[in-house]
């Protein structure tokens, strides 16, 4: 087993033309790129540029990015919750409990279609979705929101469905035995059990969405990514550093905030 894994790893290493010497040889070029051309001002990454009006512009763009991620998350939750219920085998057993060939086929069919939809949403990268939506609604944050939302809906669906399938079936059995219907069983026996998992996953996806949203600007889909891409293309690398610092600080703050929220709910 270990030998096979090692063989796969080795083959992959060779096929992708990985080489340590290339990195060592090329280290000089990287140093040059980071240091920049001494004849052109601000072409090096250090020191970061510090022009208050520019920083204000970047922060506003960062806030726009956060807003994009937030709305995208909201839409993706709306889609992912019902979709994840349909993509969980145990939940389908509550919805269609009888054991006839017809209901078995129906359950299988619903499960497959829900998983398939989620898979398609998820496997297509945000950038690709953004290209589609930019062509539909034009440049700007809305294309980015739709792209993020649809991709995140797919990811959340998979994550939430895994949470749903991991619940203790006991309470579900008990409440079904009292004659409670599908939605009541979901609210009383499923939601309380999946809540901590749900909160963690949603917070994690918010952080991922902020990171993704910050490069969606590359294809004209709004947010701080627009400036990032613009500065990279025009070799104004000191500004690139400033923008990266703003993104890192934003993600760090979200991480701290998530920890606080998570503690409250779990």
């Amino acid at each position: 087993m270990v030998i096979i894994l090692f063989a796969i790893l080795l083959t992959s290493w060779n096929n992708t033309e990985m080489s340590i010497s290339a990195l060592v040889d090329g280290a000089g070029s990287m140093r040059e790129y980071i240091a920049g051309n001494p004849e052109i001002a601000d072409s090096g990454f250090f020191p970061p540029s510090f022009i208050p009006s520019d920083i204000q512009m970047y922060v506003v763009a960062m806030i726009e990015t956060l807003e994009m991620a937030l709305i995208a998350l909201f839409f993706s939750i709306l889609v992912a919750i019902p979709l994840s219920l349909l993509a969980s085998r145990n939940i389908l057993m509550i919805l269609l409990p009888s054991d006839t060939p017809f209901t078995r086929t129906l359950r299988g069919g619903i499960y497959l279609s829900a998983s398939l939809v989620a898979n398609v949403f998820r496997s297509i990268n945000e950038i690709i979705w953004a290209l589609f939506f930019v062509s539909a609604v034009g440049l700007g944050p809305m294309a980015g929101i739709l792209a993020l939302g649809i991709h995140t809906a797919g990811v959340l669906c998979k994550l939430l469905a895994e949470g749903n399938e991991a619940i203790d079936p006991g309470p579900v059995e008990a409440l079904s035995a009292t004659g409670a219907g599908f939605l009541k069983v979901i609210v009383y026996a499923v939601v309380p059990q999946t809540m901590p998992h749900f909160i963690s996953m949603v917070l994690y996806r918010f952080e991922s969405d902020v990171r993704s949203a910050s490069i969606l600007g590359f294809v004209g889909a709004g947010g701080i990514g627009f400036y990032l891409f613009d500065k990279i293309r025009s070799f104004e690398n000191a500004d690139v550093t400033t923008i990266i610092i703003i993104i890192v600080v934003a993600v760090w703050l979200i991480d701290k905030l998530s920890a606080v929220i998570r503690k409250k709910f779990i």
């Binding site: 006991g170 309470p171 008990a174 009292t178 409670a180 939605l183 059990q193």
Partner: protein
């Protein structure tokens, strides 16, 4: 109240219990004893319509199981309480919510969704909390309670249904002797005070003898004893628990259908057979 005429029950058209004739009237406290796998749980689950009825007439509080519609089955279930060995409470909800969830069958969907209870419902909830002596823990989360306390919450949840029949599947098997006696005492009170018919699977013969008004002994899918606790003689027990008859036990072990176990554990069949074989060998040694 419960009337079985020549009923056979089973899974996937394979009978587990054969040709049962059984009549249980209101107010009885019936204890079912027998080996694991004899069909005790199957009999209990069949009462709430969870088991396929292969033949015969099966009447519970006026409902004909087997031909029952989905709507009527829900109605029937609201009138039957069920207590499980593993309590089956929602651990992250507090005691009150768990108890109120017993009334879900009667509650309107919109109120259930926001967990909003009426004054009368709450009064009922507190009354049953007092019956099982758990009111001081009303706002505590269920994962903070001991096993005995949890089973009492589960009983209060079943009572909140205001059931005609209370089914208990090994209600005290996981409890220490003191908590177990307390739970059995509560069941007896419910049986006598509220006149609720109780049917319980019991591992402890002493409990069955002490608390039940009638005992059913099940072995190999047949009811082989049906009578008062005092009438239960040693030779009945020998037949129920198959004492001095180890060969048949071995045969049973091989015949157990393990397919659902494999699904549950998602273990490859080959590997599971290996594990089972290993276990059987270690038992023989």
């Amino acid at each position: 109240m419960i009337e079985l005429n020549n009923v056979s029950l089973g899974y996937n058209k394979k009978p587990v219990l054969n040709n049962l004739d059984l009549h249980i009237s209101k107010g009885e406290f019936v204890g079912i004893i027998g080996l694991s796998g004899a069909g005790k749980s199957t009999l209990l689950m069949s009462l709430i319509g969870n088991i396929q009825i292969l033949s015969g007439r099966y009447n519970v509080i006026g409902y004909q199981l087997g031909t029952i519609s989905k709507k009527h089955l829900k109605e029937l279930r609201t009138r039957i309480g069920f207590i499980f060995q593993g309590y089956n409470l929602v651990d992250r909800l507090n005691v009150l919510h768990n108890i109120m969830s017993g009334m879900l069958g009667q509650m309107s969907l919109s109120r259930a969704l926001i967990k909003w209870y009426g004054r009368q419902e709450l009064a009922k909830g507190y009354k049953y909390m007092q019956t099982v002596d758990i009111s001081e823990c009303a706002r505590q989360r269920c994962d903070e309670l001991s096993g005995g306390q949890r089973q009492r919450v589960a009983i209060a949840r079943a009572l909140a249904q205001e059931p005609d029949i209370l089914l208990a599947d090994e209600p005290v098997a996981a409890l220490d002797p003191k908590s177990a006696a307390q739970v059995m005492d509560i069941l007896q009170t419910i049986n006598r005070q509220y006149g609720v018919t109780i049917i319980a699977n019991l591992h402890h013969l002493d409990f069955a003898r002490k608390y039940c008004s009638r005992i059913l002994g099940i072995a190999d899918g047949d009811i082989i004893f049906d009578g008062l606790p005092e009438e239960l003689a040693q030779r009945d027990l020998d037949r129920i628990y198959k004492i001095k008859n180890t060969e048949t036990c071995d045969e049973d072990m091989e015949e157990i259908d393990i397919s659902h176990l494999m699904d549950a554990a998602r273990i490859r069949p080959k590997r599971l057979k290996k594990v089972l074989k290993h276990e059987q060998e270690s038992v023989k040694v």
